[in-house]
Amino acid sequence: MKNSLIILAFFAAGVLIGALGDAGGWIPEALGSLSTYVLYVLMCLVGFGIGGDTDSLKVLKETNLKIVLVPLAVVAGSLGGAALIAAFIRGLDLQEVLAISGGFGYYSLSSLFITELRGELPGTIALLANIMREIMTLLMTPLFLKWAGPLGPVASGGATSMDTTLPIISLYSGKQYAVIALFNGIVLTVLVPFLVPFILSF
């Protein structure tokens, strides 16, 4: 939660400076291409982290096969749910709604990808929607547990179930679901940088 608030603060500061600077005319043109290069640096670092993380490989070895169903359910459920309401969202096409939903709570990366490929408007919606997913999981885990059983909070957390929402999942669903949450989060986190551009590539 703290991390997403910091991110929101940086974003808001940027919006403020952008709005003021645009009126004053002192924003350099090169800023847009700068963010592309910074994104490259970020992706290299994210890849480095995934490649060097021996724990995530261990989790894979220790659990049985049906655990794969959990991230699968999140992918199918999120995209399916988003597809059902896509027609009611004006100004975004089906692909954009699916890509936003396909961030699974990984707001930083998914919003940057969507901005890069489709512009700031869907990118901003992706940022907000995915931050909301994390906050919603943190606030409503007890209800989700009641409605959907112990896998409910894991599924709702999506990619965040490996870090920010893991403590609350382990608390309410039980410790045995912490491993599943970890696995689910890792799979979805690795999937996002491939799935989002894939959805938008058609």
Partner: protein, 108 residues
């Protein structure tokens, strides 16, 4: 976008090869957070310059909320089904507040 995926794959290979150097991965998480802050700050600046977004910010928030609700609802439905059909049988209730009655006789 292919460039990004190539760069990430290169990073993954480098990370795997250098996985023994714990110091590298320790500093990594912090660096990643700072780069993300910088990028979202930059994204904020572009958004701030975009009048259409600024004028319709309440609508954008509503759209984001709708997409989130639909995604979470869909995930919950499928998670409930997966639990019902595949996980129910080896479910052991170990949450603290449920108290006694969950201890299995043979183990206790």
């Amino acid at each position: 976008m292919l460039t990004v995926i190539l760069i990430m794959t290169a990073g993954m290979i480098a990370g795997y090869l250098l996985r023994k150097y714990k110091k590298l991965s320790k500093g990594l998480d912090k660096t990643v957070s700072y780069v993300i802050y910088l990028l979202l700050f930059l994204l904020g600046i572009t958004v701030g310059q975009n009048e259409t977004i600024i004028r319709n910010f309440h609508l954008i928030g509503l759209k984001a909320f709708l997409i989130t609700c639909a995604s979470v609802a869909g995930s919950l439905v499928l998670a409930a089904l997966v639990f019902h059909f595949f996980f129910r049988h080896d479910h052991v209730d170990d949450t603290a507040d449920k108290g006694a009655g969950v201890l299995q006789g043979e183990d206790a």
